[in-house]
Amino acid sequence: MTAPIAETTGTAKSISIRNFNKYYGGFHALKDLSIEVKAGEFLVLLGPSGCGKSTALRMIAGLESISSGALLIGDRDVTEVLPKYRDIAMVFQSYALYPHKTVAENIGFPLKVAKTPAAEMEAAVRAAADQVELGEHLDRFPGQLSGGQRQRVALARAIIRRPSVFLMDEPLSNLDAKLRGNMRAELKHMQGELGITTIYVTHDQIEAMTLAHRVAIMKDGVLQQLGTPKEVYSDPANLFVAGFMGSPPMNFVTGALANEVFTSGSIQFPLLSTPNTASATLGFRPEDCQITAPGTGFLDADVFTVEMTGDQVLVTLRMDGTPLVVKMPKEFEIEAGAKAGITLDPKHLYVFDTDTGARVRRG
């Protein structure tokens, strides 16, 4: 459960992204992106690589020009303002630590260029380093630190100036899985504590779900859906969002819908109060369905693999070549190659128009 947006500390500012467009020559990389980010909010831009999320972030930072559109931070229009006057701090995927400077010099760099007095700077560097538990490594060089420590240096450098906005470009993707989980929790805690408006780019939907107040899902430079993690998970706007969110992702069966009956190969399945759709895709989540004896569910399939993940069993089935995954409790046992049926409550069924991707029935 995501914590409510923290009380703003006064430095946090809202961000208004208005009709962002980005062209690289003839290539339209970002198409009419508009998002209003509240002060203190944690917004995640989520999407596969090449969807324009990093471009959008770099446009907010001022590292890429805004081809058309406007950007407001607080009430100030910063569309044409240089990065250093936007009062933002950014954490890069590569951390972008200065290799020839010590940890202390790295963390203190924003204050140094702001010509902060030495005593004040030292106190601030110590405070920031302590906050990310780096107090003992201040005189080391980035090359002597582990990946997780480098990540912390980058974070400390970002928080030391108390900017109005944090931008993070896949900050956790270079860490190993366990460390990533820890840092995720720390990031979330820190953001809540500081209450600084944060825009976070990732392609990892778990990060998006766990960190965000709201998630913006993007594809091919177009915003697909903007909503709370719960909304985008349980109420996906289209086929792409439904398939992107969730691990393992939603199961899809393609067919046609006519007179409130869904037909796909040998399957016929009544779906009440659903409009006719010439090419329809039926969707259901792995955790919303169960395996039953063959012939008793709404469809039958062959068991392909059985994966025990510890807390549950993932059963992958094949129906005419279409893979279907069912999450079963950890006690569940079945042999690969067996025939099985899948059953579910029809209220968990989503229907999408295959051609347009639009959802025609809510689960």
């Binding site: 990065p83 250093k84 972008a96 200065y98 020839h100 990946g147």
Partner: protein, 346 residues
């Protein structure tokens, strides 16, 4: 215990067998002798007189022959004016030319590595054509140069837009870089006559300025080429991060780019310095007496009426080598230091 090396790693000296070590060290010894013997020969020759050289070969001083300071005296006492002038000229010219070409060349390299240029090919050709026409008008038809340039500039801006929009073929950074490097592919001998005439017409023959400018231009492509690669290896993230942290462009360059490119700058400086220090052909054309450099002085010694003066030539060569060796020792710690370790993820 030494860790077992992977099959992809070259063996370390300590891990080799005795036989391998003996072969390795003998090869190294032979190579060292091969490299060092000419220098040894140079040194002992500088302490010989004409008889020792002509009746030789004598290898060991005090045993084979009696060393004498004769040649050193000749160069630094009798002819000290010529020697010191050439030495001073060489130092001034190579230092200035190196500073100039490294400064301008690395700025060009930095710009090429960080900014995307897309000049229109037609506009460039058009610019060159106008320039040629202006020169023709001024030199052949005696048009006032101010009038000619004003007309040319006006025509350039007027037609650049019109013509530029017709043909959209653009050059890119790679083309510009290749064009710069191609200037070095051309052998200097090809352009030595035009360069000579050019400096003759502005009255700069046999001056430091002429040689400094020529060396700086000739070495610039090497600087651009080396530094372009070097700047490219510095992650852009670092500069972007510094900008977001509030640094100015100059601040970013001074605080981030310059310290990180020290290694590359040191290597480039050393290379360009050596090239200018040893350059012979261009100096031969551009200097007659006042601006003569060391290579010219040394070469002149084998053309005297007394035959080849091996002994004085050896002295001149020794003093000529010293600054380069000192420079190399001074700069090698920068060159061998890999400062970029840990810049990005590790």
């Amino acid at each position: 215990m030494t860790p077992k090396r992977s099959i992809f790693e070259a063996p370390r000296i300590g891990q080799m067998s005795m036989a391998t070590k003996i072969v390795l060290y003998s090869l190294l010894l032979i190579w060292s002798a091969f490299v060092l013997f000419p220098i040894y020969w140079l040194i002992i020759t500088s302490f010989k007189d004409a008889a020792d050289v002509n009746q030789g070969p004598f290898f060991i001083p005090f045993v084979d022959y009696q060393p004498t300071l004769h040649a050193w005296k000749e160069l630094f006492v009798n002819d000290y004016e010529d020697t010191l002038r050439a030495y001073f000229n060489s130092i001034v010219i190579s230092l200035s030319a190196t500073a100039l070409s490294v400064l301008i060349g690395s700025m060009a390299a930095y710009a090429l590595s960080r900014v995307s240029y897309a000049p229109n090919l037609i506009t460039i050709l058009y610019f060159i054509a106008l320039l040629a026409l202006t020169v023709l008008a001024v030199t052949i038809y005696q048009v006032d140069w101010r009038l000619a340039s004003a007309v040319a500039i006006a025509m350039f801006f007027f037609l650049a837009r019109a013509v530029g929009n017709l043909y959209q073929f653009q050059l890119h950074n790679g083309d510009i870089l290749f064009w710069i490097i191609s200037q070095r592919i051309l052998a200097p001998i090809v352009v030595v006559v035009p360069i000579y005439i050019m400096f003759q017409s502005v009255g700069l023959l046999d001056t430091h300025i002429a040689i400094i400018i020529t060396y700086a231009v000739v070495n610039m492509p090497i600087v651009v080429w080396l530094m372009y690669d070097f700047f490219n290896s510095i992650p852009r993230d670092l500069e972007e991060s510094a900008q977001l942290d509030g640094a100015t462009m100059i601040g970013t360059f001074r605080e981030i780019v310059l310290p990180l490119s020290r290694t590359g700058l040191a290597a480039t400086t050393l290379l360009v310095m050596i090239l200018s220090w040893n350059e012979y052909l261009l100096a031969l054309f551009l200097s007659t007496s006042k601006a003569q450099t060391m290579p010219i002085l040394v070469a002149a010694m084998n053309a005297g009426e007394r035959g080849i003066l091996w002994w004085t030539m050896s002295v001149a060569i020794i003093v000529m080598i010293i600054p380069v060796v000192v420079l190399a020792i001074f700069l090698q710690k920068y060159i061998s230091k890999g400062l970029l370790v840990g810049a990005v993820k590790g």
